[in-house]
Point group: C2
């Protein structure tokens, strides 16, 4: 195949789409892009929602409001899907793949929902399906897992993959803010949406964990639900306790091997030791920490969001797909490892920080300690502080099964002397060096 | 081309080579490797220096002590060169490339010396030349620059690319050790060689800067000398001054754009603000920080040395070369940008920390300040501390031309009241968020 030009259609011209088109049209980048793609790239169609909006930098004759037209453009090589959401994005992508058109998308929800099926469809049609921008904004972590680490056995992937929650937790940590105030600030700065549920309840992080896991371990992408805990319950006193103990609280997405064929995938607030590389990832930054059997620890850090930074990830994929297109080949998706099974979050051992408020009277600690003991949860350290007529007990456990810790919490809540359960947050050990 | 197997020859079976062969022969990785390479890989020859040494895991009939035999093996697809040094490595690599055999090497010295010519030779012969392991051990930064960031305009690359010096500076920082003690500890742990010159005088970092720059900016790899300052002059009092001011001292390799067509490449100790991502890179870890015009800041972190971690980088290259081999193509090296010129280190502006010991008597500060003023170097802050009959003056300048700062130092040294010049270290501003 000797294509004189690679034809690119784009669905969605919001922040990312318009930044991408600007990159593709920038004369000062032309030589570098041709070098990288081996032929010139041409934008041949752009689907937008609102035709009346001015679009400087996009030739009017390229615009359409009917996105389904884009994949039907004659001789289309690459469809870039930036509309987001499951439908109609999925329909557009399937239509393109069925015609052998390669697809580049930033759609994490769709990839988490149907990535395996779409990758298979791409392969059957001799097309590529790339989605670097779906995880970590501009951080090129997915290509690294697909290529550089293809021969490595990965043990664990841990990511700060949601900038909104990292911004909120960083504010709580650096300024002692309450959760509500930090959330309000994130909203006023545009880092959090009016309805922040997808971010703060870790739905977004969970989708990204599924995608990272599929490339790191060969797990399926077919809409699996994984264990998910948000950050709305994290209090400033927890952040302060963590600080004094040498930790920072981060929302981590985790995918790790458990034994020979088990994989645990989950997203939850975590106390990370200050000396761990993930602890220094501040504000809206994202980072992915990978532990390989032979490579040792590796970390990627960058801006997790923003139109321009995300557009650079999309552009990297477009160039990859274009190169493949020109040489008439496509990347073969890695096989799903069918021997793997998902290990329930309850069956994972971890150290926990648990904070409870109790009535301050003699004998209460013994009652509380007894509940821990009944569930085989052993206590590493305890700190008591007075709060009016109450006492706050902050425990750090030894490593214990998550389900045993949860059973402990349930039984503690039943004690008449226990006023409230404040926090139950996982603690990870140091690492990275 | 439909190759049933890709044949790999290896020159050098030290830590990296034997770890690579172990990875290639590991039955539990076989499926993943075939997935990644698309066909099985076969090790067909291994050149070693000492034939009498036991080599568990390498079939004896594959061994040879004549490395020149490896590139002559019939049907060889990939030569892995892990011998190091300029010659005879260059001869082996050229012989392979001339026969259209792809080459994977970890040889930073050779790539810095002759990378452009070798890449051109590879291209002319339809072969690949990959060298991921030459910079940052197991960190897959070179592939990211070649692929993910191929369409991005990079403004600056800063790397902690030498684990030995980072270990020494980390020890000085965390434990207040002297340079000599920290070096001795690095030597006893095997992090530093008996003759540490290549590391501590930044020859190693400089070679890596050249390689990073060639991929980030399109500069040539033809043995250019760049500005280089080592860490042997860094004193514990400088580390302590940095700490109090909110900085850590790191040996950075830097390549950055200056104006439209200028590139500055250099390696020197640098005061890095504690909130900068590079500041948290401790011990023997390596990291590369990249600032793209659109991507914003990105950082890669990982182990910079070690046989196994380096072998994973080599393996990533071998798999890439194998995939290309199977589909009968090769990666086209990026063009050298001939419009670029090298900007001398003296013409780069920077903030500097300068420490001098003076005789403690009235009027000395005025004399000293006058010298700064004569060279247009403006002072941001000054701290005086007594040391016996002497006073130590620690200055932080405003941004000034490096040559003006050096001229200031030269003239200060001539003052009768100045006993010694202690330090002259660049300071960088915060970043990364």
């Amino acid at each position: 195949m000797n294509k004189p030009v690679v034809r690119v259609g784009v669905i969605g011209a919001g922040f990312v789409g318009s930044a991408l088109i600007e990159l593709l049209s920038d004369p000062s980048r032309h030589v570098a892009l041709v070098d990288a793609a081996t032929v010139p790239l041409e934008v041949v169609g752009v689907a937008v929602r609102d035709a009346s909006k001015p679009r400087p930098g996009i030739a009017p004759e390229l615009l359409t409001t009917d996105a389904s037209h884009i994949s039907e453009i004659d001789g289309l090589d690459i469809l870039v899907e930036l509309a987001g959401g499951i439908e109609p994005a999925r329909t557009y992508i399937e239509a393109a793949l069925n015609q052998g058109v390669s697809v580049v998308t930033a759609n994490k929800a769709l990839m988490a929902e149907a990535g395996t099926a779409l990758a298979q469809l791409a392969h059957e049609n001799g097309a590529d399906l790339f989605y670097e921008a779906a995880v970590g904004g501009g951080i090129p972590i997915l290509r690294a897992l697909r290529t550089s680490l293809a021969g490595e056995r990965i043990e664990r992937v841990m990511g700060i993959v949601n900038g909104t929650t990292n911004f909120i937790l960083s504010k709580m940590s650096s300024e002692g803010s309450d959760y509500a105030d930090a959330l309000a600030e994130a909203q006023s700065l545009g880092y959090a949406e009016a309805d922040p549920t997808a971010d703060v309840e870790a739905y977004d992080a969970a989708a990204k964990v599924l995608i990272l896991s599929s490339l790191a371990f060969g797990t399926e992408l077919s809409g699996e639900e994984i264990s998910r805990e948000g950050i709305s319950g994290v209090r400033s006193i927890d952040v302060e306790f963590a600080r004094r103990a040498g930790y920072v609280i981060k929302l981590l997405g985790v995918a790790e091997r458990v034994g020979d064929h088990g994989i645990s995938r989950r997203a939850h607030p975590t106390m990370v030791p200050v000396e761990h590389p993930l602890a220094s990832v501040h504000g809206a930054m994202n980072a992915v920490f990978v532990e390989g059997t032979k490579s040792g620890p590796l970390m990627w850090l960058g801006q997790g969001a923003g139109g321009q930074t995300t557009a650079t990830a999309v552009l990297g994929d477009v160039l990859d797909a274009a190169r493949n297109r020109v040489s008439g080949r496509h990347d073969v998706p890695f096989s799903v490892d069918t021997t793997l099974h998902s290990v329930p979050a309850g069956d994972i051992a971890s150290v926990f920080y648990i904070s409870i408020d109790v009535i301050d009277r003699p004998g209460v600690l013994a009652l509380v300690a007894n509940v821990f003991g009944q569930h085989d949860v052993s206590i590493q350290s305890m700190e008591q502080s007075g709060v009016g007529d109450e006492a706050r007990l902050s425990f750090v456990t030894h490593s214990a099964m998550t389900k045993d810790v949860h059973a402990t919490i349930t039984d503690l809540a039943k004690l008449e002397a226990v006023d409230s359960i404040g926090a139950c947050i996982r603690v990870i050990a140091g690492g990275g060096e």
